[in-house]
Amino acid sequence: MPANGAPTKITQGSKTRGGIGESTLRPDGTLKVTGEFAYSSDMWHEDMLWGQILRSTVAHAEIVSIDTSEALALPGVYAVMTYDDLPTEVKNYGLEIQDTPVLAHGKVRHHGEPVAIVAADHPETARRAAAKIKVDYRELPVITDEKSALAPDAILVHEGRDDHHIGHVPHPNIVHRQPIVRGNVEEARARADVIVEGEYTFGMQDQAFLGPESGLAVPEEDGGVHLYIATQWLHSDLRQIAPVLGLPEEKVRMTLAGVGGAFGGREDLSMQIHACLLALRTGKPVKIVYNRFESFFGHVHRHPAKLYYEHGATKDGKLTHLKCRIVLDGGAYASASPAVVGNASSLSVGPYVVDDVDIEAVALYTNNPPCGAMRGFGAVQACFAYEAQMDKLAKKLGMDPVEFRQLNAMEQGTIMPTGQPVDSPAPVAELLRRVKAMPLPPERQWESSEGADVRQLPGGLSNTTHGEGVVRGIGYAVGIKNVGFSEGFDDYSTAKVRMEVVGGEAVATVHTAMAEVGQGGVTVHAQIARTELGVSRVTIHPADTQVGSAGSTSASRQTYVTGGAVKNACELVREKVLEIGRRKLGSYHPAWATAELLLEGGKVVTDGGEVLADLADVLEGEAVEVEEEWRHRPTEPFDLRTGQGHGHVQYSFAAHRAVVEVDTELGLVKVIELACAQDVGKALNPLSVIGQIQGGTTQGLGVAVMEEIIVDPKTAKVRNPSFTDYLIPTILDTPTIPVDVLELADDHAPYGLRGIGEAPTLSSTPAVLAAIRNATGLELNRTPVRPEHLTGT
């Protein structure tokens, strides 16, 4: 792995095996390959019931009546609950704005909204009972886009809004608006030799994690409930669940069950409150597992967007200005829309130097499916647009698209449109150079002596071409993503670290509430503990709410923030261990008092390498435990009029080169290769880093050529809620993904690391689009690209 630039900060003990920087294997790997790992959908309890949710069949309607009598009469049914059965005055929840009803109250605002819940002794009985609930709807006109949302006679999706955004939005059907104004666009435009405008459309993408929403709620003897759940943030769930149940938070115990992927789709609650309500009502454990159809309705999606961009450049290729407007469809409930708006606006310029900007991003309330967090979070949509603009500008100037980008690339010290300086490495030009320098895959690799191998051609085993009409194209893109929660959010994490002797050996236990969703946080926590405490055996305690919040497994933040918390707690434990050592053994060797001491290989050693004691002897009869919160540098909100503010913690950069082959007659695309170069600051676990980059790249590929939730504009109903109709990349659709990892330390971050999970999802999509444009000569202003966009049919 190439390593350039400043050394990363390793505080101590780096020689202990299995520490940071090594590709140690997952602690849950064996359980996951033997089928023993307990996912939330695998939970089982004696006497448990199955919960089922009845969802609205229409997008926007008043509920005239609900009749549950037939459902209740069905043998095997234990409970049916509607809005009227909610136990407290708190009947709504939400991440930032509590606008989402636990069960619909008098009105439904989107297709698939929960209306009633059922508990029964067999899942099929629960399904049939739900189907017997009669709901009488009086349909209302649907709001589906900016025009209908802001029309003079538009129905308000939410009447009587009192959230903290209502004061600054131009219309109650706008959730949040964030302008960013800097410099003088009019003057800058006058300097431009070329001006390029574009209107771009980004389709609605689904996280499509494979493990469906699920969990088990077990009523407890003290009147509380214990919820075993797949989520991204236990404490955020807890804060939203407890008030609805009318329970103090300590009576709602939460344990993380196995999580089958997340990608943002588990930031919002799904079945958590419903399972708890049914468990408390029936006094029995209740399990709810969505099927795939329901999963498409059960979580928020990536915001579809319209993006209006204008860039100017001088004839020598320098960007003059950016004027853009980004309209995100937030759907029926706010979810994470305000934060997505903040990201979309503050990152709309991309990784480029542009001093004069006039930017606006808004999120709408509509009757479309609610949209919120998904990997890339507002930065993905913007990247699709600004990278298309870069190619158009380069073409108009007669410049090479990579050289044009490099000429305008930001670097350390660049001032963002928000006025925030980029104060750590920003190797944008270098990433582009690296990705371009990778060897290209050979042409016509599908050709062989026995004829064409159709498996490597567009259309694949459908046998639609043997190379006729197939054209190759190459495209580049680069993106910028923020790491961590922004805009003044108190983005902390907590770690509890314990060190003691077990079986004659010093052992560390790391306990956090971090949601392991597959990213490998548990692997990294053990590595950090080995590095900082010099032990080989580290136990990772299951994540639960018996320890302080770890924040969300989102925003590429967990290795940075919870990793930082684990490192910090380990350092405090280390100091206490050394204190014990000095107290117990200090008189045996003067170095205890005079030398810099390290914990390494199970021993206390001096920085000169002299062994002072075995850790097992120091800790004999004693245990050291520390629980401590840890915070990264604070951020500040963006000014609501100018967008100025030091809003972000850290930036993350990746660049892609896509090579595609297009069957121009049928409009079929085969992505041949998607090369990526990314700066990761410090690769704590190189194998996991590459896995994240390849996985993120593939999700970007999906939304380039296949993935889109289709919502009928007339009815606002979802038309393809299944894996038969919503396609995600298979192994046949996914090319080889060579990865070049750069490690330039960020001096502000633990070990110099950079959050990595999202950046590769950004630039992958526009690189594929650029390659298809390169092959076809078409403009292609929307994603995903479908065959009809390529053939004009």
Partner: protein, 190 residues
């Protein structure tokens, strides 16, 4: 109804099975074998892949009654299945080295470390092919079947064989690596 079939070499009997229940449901909810995963119930994702009389199938699409009298292998039985295959039809005890290794390592109740794994299971761990792991059981059963019939698959062969198994985390590269690794180890006799 009652369904009798063999799962991972052991005769099983499931009672009170409703006619609409899938083989997947009976494995997961009635036989305590939740290793096979339910991610789409439409045969699109392959997470529920099991061997039915040796043939990889989506167990969500097999009615439980169709399994009557037949042999099923799930991810839980993959290690034993691979061990028996390695022995052929003759009798086969535990090799001495393996017995020693077992003794030395023990089984860690938290991580499962020390559990006997099949070559493809070990390769998935070693290659980093496991992230969230939800697709892993199905991919393991499918990959194992591929290597059983094709000891030296080309990349195109691997992609074709695994095209019915969706993974959302890895981008498939590490899964390709894992299958290549298992094939290489198999041919080296490791």
């Amino acid at each position: 109804m009652r369904v009798n079939f063999t799962v991972n070499g052991r005769p099983q009997e499931a009672d009170d099975v409703w006619e609409g229940e899938s083989l997947l449901y009976v494995l997961r909810e009635r036989l305590g074998l939740p290793g096979s995963k339910n991610a789409c119930e439409q045969g699109e994702c392959g997470s529920c892949t099991v061997r039915l009389d040796g043939v990889p199938v989506c167990s969500c699409l097999v009615a439980a009654g169709q399994a009557e009298g037949r042999d099923v292998v799930t991810v839980e039985g993959l290690a034993d299945y691979a061990r028996q295959r390695a022995c052929g039809t003759g009798s086969c005890g535990t090799p001495l080295d393996e017995a020693k290794g077992w003794q030395a390592k023990g089984t860690d109740s938290q991580t499962g470390e020390g559990t006997g794994l099949s070559p493809i299971q070990q390769a998935f761990i070693d290659a980093g092919a496991v992230q969230c792991g939800f697709c892993t059981p199905g991919l393991l059963v499918a990959s194992d079947e591929l290597l059983e019939r094709n000891a030296n698959p080309t990349d195109a062969d691997i992609r074709e064989a695994l095209s019915g198994n969706l993974c959302r985390c890895t981008g498939y590269e590490k899964i390709m690596d894992a299958v290549r690794l298992a094939a290489a180890r198999q041919s080296e006799g490791v």
